[in-house]
């Protein structure tokens, strides 16, 4: 019996190796006393090395581990977005209550674990690696949501996410079983072949599989009507984690959404395209209407995330290079826009008694201009106003939709954006046009002996570099890519072209 030594492309899996090593080191650092304070630095180091290794693999698509993974520009660009968000999550977590309560080493190790899930999910081309990566991404997040151990909301958020996320995973798994049963393959390319070879075109078995897989992924990307968990979980989780989750999870899930539907199920286009388009439209309406009248900024951003996921799903629907590129572009823009908003929310949460309530940003324009400008830019960008990356992102998506004969969905995006103005501009108005002279910073709670969680942790948080820095950086990037979008467009079109290349 001959034993063939398997060929291992170490260069291709080097990012995952780096993450694994980093994860172990960070976790162990909690054990050794002298290293206890170094978890954030080690995490940043790991993320930096991983990003470097990923960029090294740019423009060199390769299939890894006997077809379980495919490291192409799409995977790299999505991974980079996830790493960027994780890095900012680390910075925003400095002096966050959750890291102290849950243990800095554990908190950061979990974060790295989730990033590893995302990096793997973005590369997954096989049902098994797909599912394992998805769980790898989700399970650390369930725990991270609950790391604010003494706050009921945080625990509730973790539990809710766990239950709903598990239902999503189970549905997805069930759908996968149908697809495997029908085609006998777990490879995405093999599934595509199997459908043709076994004459399963339009077969109920396949259709049920597609539907359940779509529902499972819709849970993860918070597409309506499978979004109910989103606002609650976003509100309850520690804010740096919410920021990370809002963008990075969506990015990774959309990567596999694109791969799974466009590569494995491309031949069944006629059956899933109208269904996904309908989901996108529902998501746009539900998200935008739901966000109206939300007083909690995190809830509002949760609902807005539902709507934004609807916009992005449009790029998946059209099944084209332009569609894929527009999703990548939008995700990158979305990362910067959300980051600016969440950085400001973290700062205000720590220095006022209002938490993430809209009252916390009242009069911010006068009091903390360095926070007010980033939040303003973020809101205008999310609303898709020109001179921001949000406008170019919408332009890209609409162009892809019109080219793909889905003009009606483009009109939905326009209508959704109009509704969204009402709640985005409400935040802007609170900052710049609110009643003046009322400072909310460091105000004492109205009720004596209120829970210590409501106390401002740090009345000067709005001036700290680790709050102002990320906010300004993300806002500057949002404006920069709104005026000079060419580099980001090229980045996205590379990623888009690599899906079928």
């Amino acid at each position: 019996m001959n034993f063939h030594e398997p060929h291992i492309d170490y260069a291709g899996i080097s990012p995952v190796i780096a993450l694994t090593v980093g994860l172990c080191v960070v976790l162990l650092s909690a054990v050794f006393k002298p290293l206890r304070r170094s978890a954030p630095i080690l995490t940043m180091l790991t993320l930096g090395v991983t990003a470097g290794l990923l960029i090294w693999q740019w423009d060199d698509p390769k299939t890894l581990i006997t077809g379980a993974l495919r490291l192409d520009d799409l995977a790299i660009s999505i991974s980079l977005i996830a790493i960027l968000m994780a890095a900012f999550c680390v910075v925003l977590s400095i002096r966050e209550r959750a890291t102290e309560e849950a243990g800095s080493g554990e908190y950061h190790a979990l974060l790295l674990g989730s990033v590893m899930g995302m990096v793997l999910l973005a590369q997954a081309t096989n049902l098994v690696s797909f599912f394992v990566a998805l769980e790898m991404l989700s399970i650390p997040l369930y725990i991270l949501c609950a790391t604010n151990l003494r706050r009921e909301g945080s625990l509730e958020s973790g539990l809710k996410y766990l239950i709903v996320g598990s239902i999503g995973s189970a549905t997805l798994l069930y759908g996968m079983a149908f697809l495997y049963g029908g085609t006998g393959a777990t490879n995405f390319a093999g599934i595509a072949d199997g459908i043709v070879r076994n004459g399963l075109d339009g077969d109920p078995l396949i259709l049920i599989g597609i539907a359940m897989a779509a529902v499972g992924l819709a849970f993860k990307t918070s597409i309506a009507p499978f979004h109910q968990w989103t606002p609650d979980v976003y509100q309850g989780a520690p804010t740096p984690i919410t920021a990370f989750m809002a963008v990075a999870t969506k990015a990774a899930a959309f990567a596999v959404f694109l791969r799974f539907f466009d590569v494995a199920l491309g031949s069944q286009l006629d059956s899933w395209q109208p269904a996904l388009a309908a989901l996108a439209a529902i998501s746009i309406v539900v998200g935008n209407v739901g966000a109206l009248g939300q007083d909690s900024l995190k809830r509002m951003l949760g609902y807005s995330g539902v709507a934004q996921a609807g916009y992005m799903l449009g790029g998946v629907v059209v099944l084209s290079d332009a569609g894929t590129s527009s999703v990548v572009f939008y995700l990158a823009a979305y990362a910067f826009m959300n980051l600016a908003a969440f950085a400001v929310i973290v700062g205000r949460e720590r220095e006022t008694i209002y938490g993430d309530d809209i009252r916390a940003v009242r009069g911010l324009g006068v009091e903390r201009p360095l926070l007010a400008w980033p939040l303003t830019i973020s809101m205008l960008a999310l609303a898709g106003l020109p001179a921001t990356a949000g406008f170019i992102g919408k332009l890209y998506l609409i162009e892809a939709l019109v080219e793909g004969d889905y003009t009606w969905l483009a009109v939905f995006i326009a209508v959704g954006t109009m509704i969204s103005l009402a709640y985005y501009l409400r935040v802007v108005a609170a900052m710049w046009m609110g009643p003046e002279g009322e400072s909310v910073t460091g105000a004492t709670p109205v009720i004596a002996g209120a829970s210590p969680e409501a106390d401002p942790v740090d009345p000067e948080a709005g001036r700290r570099w680790y709050i102002v820095g990320p906010a300004l950086f993300a806002a500057a990037a949002t404006v920069f890519f709104g005026i000079v979008p060419q580099p980001l467009v090229e980045f996205a079109s590379h990623a888009g072209a690599s899906l079928f290349g």
Binding site: S325, L385, V402, V428, Q486
Partner: protein, 505 residues
């Protein structure tokens, strides 16, 4: 040169952010004046006989999406750019003579607004036009919302609610326009090379079916901006809330962008739909004239009188464009400039009156002519221009519009003519009530002089001189605009060539 004009205000605005608070107002004035100087230089160097683009710039901006950074000046936008530069100089100077809250941000936003407005006039790329068209709204949102007046005590809206209403109304149109613009380019490219260049797009006609819905998406954006009847719901609240220096430029220029959009984009790109819906738009235009006029002579708030008179005037301009004849469109362009020059001083006068009488209600003003003869004289010129007195450039403009309309649709022209009569009523009513009507409450104050100071005179007199100058020599505009405007119209009506039209004049 086009780029210099476009970015000059923004450059001054950015530098102004780092200046001390006392200096920033005059720095902004300097920025507006430099821009005006550039605009005048362009107008002097402009080749009046040609209908081609001059000072053109064309660089790829986002090559992957087919968007170019493409600017240019022709007869259609030359005077609108000049108007923008003139009114902004006036508006910023008027503001600089007064204390402003948070001046750094105020002037920054004013200058951003100027760049955005100039951009929408200069853009020769459809998407760039849409971008600047939307961008215009952002600075005005902050200007109206944060520096505006809270009218909730008078049964109106708070400033932020009024501006939100304005934003939602106008963006409904603009966002649909974004979809329509992209659809235009994608359908015209038909799988080939994607371009948003207006000139290139006008050569590839769209099918009549797609022209139809795209026409309405564009028309919605432009009609809201004007505003036209039924889409004017945002106007009264926003006008009451707005700070006056910003309102003067807003009313003077932004409303014209809508009318300009019809000439620049809709007529050449969607000729079939334009002919098909000509009468629908004319009905809307006539309704605007009648409704605007009637409202203007029932209102007592000075801002609203000016606001509703704008609705009527913009109705005239729309009617002139959709007469689809060379005369009508020439008149429309002339009238755009005229109306801008008239309405901006009107708001400056309103501001001055409000400072002196403490009210914006004409029932509480009066008897100003005796105590402020210079102001009254200036106001009289503005009022007479508003009612299109023979001898004013507005008369020439309205005459051309009606002439074009008579040639095209005689029934519509007969109705439109009533608007001319009504404009005389509301303009004179406004003048009489504020200047002549001596109120008992005011009479007790004796002959205390309420004359305008040198500083306000410096703002008002040049604007009035522009009105007088144009009244003496309206050909200045007509000569330069006619070749381009006629070309735009000829694309639809398929009538005489531009040269033949010019020879006729």
């Amino acid at each position: 040169m086009s780029s210099a004009i476009l970015w000059m205000p923004l450059a001054f605005g950015l530098v102004g952010l780092f200046l001390p608070k006392r200096a920033v107002g005059w720095w902004a004035v300097l920025g507006a004046v430099v821009t005006l100087g550039l605009a005048i230089a362009v107008a002097i160097g402009f080749d009046s006989g040609s209908s081609a683009l001059q000072y053109a710039v064309d660089e790829p901006w986002i090559s992957g999406l087919g968007v170019d950074y493409s600017l240019g000046i022709d007869g259609l936008n030359l005077f609108l750019i000049l108007l923008t530069a003139v009114l902004w100089t006036g508006g910023v100077a008027f503001a600089a003579f007064r204390e402003q809250e948070r001046p750094t941000t105020f002037y920054f936003l004013m200058l951003v607004a100027e760049t955005a407005t100039l951009g929408s006039f200069l853009a020769q790329d459809l998407l760039l036009f849409v971008l600047f068209f939307d961008l215009m709204l952002v600075p005005f949102y902050f200007l109206f919302g944060a520096w505006g007046h809270d009218r909730s005590a008078e049964g109106g809206l708070t400033a932020s609610a009024a501006t939100l209403k304005m934003i939602v109304y106008t963006l409904i149109g603009s966002l649909l326009m974004l979809v329509a613009a992209i659809a235009t380019a994608v359908l015209a490219a038909d799988g080939g090379h994607l371009t948003f260049s207006i000139a290139a797009l006008s050569e590839h006609g769209l099918t009549e079916g797609s022209q139809r819905w795209i026409f309405w998406f564009f028309a919605a954006a432009f009609l809201v901006k004007m505003p036209a009847f039924l889409l004017h719901g945002w106007m009264p609240d926003a006008y009451r809330a707005a700070p006056l220096p910003a309102l003067a430029v807003f009313s003077g220029v932004l409303a014209k962008v809508g009318a300009y959009g019809f000439l620049r984009v809709v007529l050449p790109l969607f000729p079939d739909a334009t002919v098909e819906f000509q009468e629908v738009i004319l009905v809307i235009a006539l309704a605007s004239i009648l409704y605007g006029s009637v409202m203007a002579f029932t209102q007592t708030n000075v801002r609203l009188i000016a606001g509703y008179s704008s609705v009527a005037q913009l109705g005239f301009i729309t009617a002139g464009i959709f007469a689809l004849s060379a005369d009508g469109a020439d008149g429309a362009v002339l009238q755009m400039v005229n109306h801008g020059l008239v309405v901006a001083p009107l708001f400056v006068i309103v501001a001055i009156l409000a400072e002196r009488t403490g009210s914006e209600d004409i029932r509480e003003m009066g008897g100003m002519a005796l105590r402020a003869p210079v102001l009254a004289a200036l106001f009289l010129i503005v009022a007479l221009a508003t009612l299109a007195m023979p001898g004013s450039a507005n008369f020439v403009g309205e005459f051309y519009i009606l002439n074009g309309l008579f040639e095209a649709k005689i029934v519509f022209a007969c109705i439109a003519i009533s608007g001319v009569a009504m404009s005389a009523y509301y303009a004179l009513r406004l003048y009489q009530q504020t200047m002549h009507n001596r109120l008992p409450s005011v009479q007790n104050q004796g002959l205390l002089s309420r004359e305008i100071g040198v500083r306000d005179g410096l703002v008002l007199v040049p604007l009035v001189l522009c009105i007088v100058g144009l009244a003496l020599y309206p050909q200045l505009i007509l000569e330069r605009t006619a070749p381009t405007v006629d070309k735009q119209v000829a694309a639809v009506s398929g009538g005489d060539s531009p040269e033949a039209q010019l020879a006729k004049k």
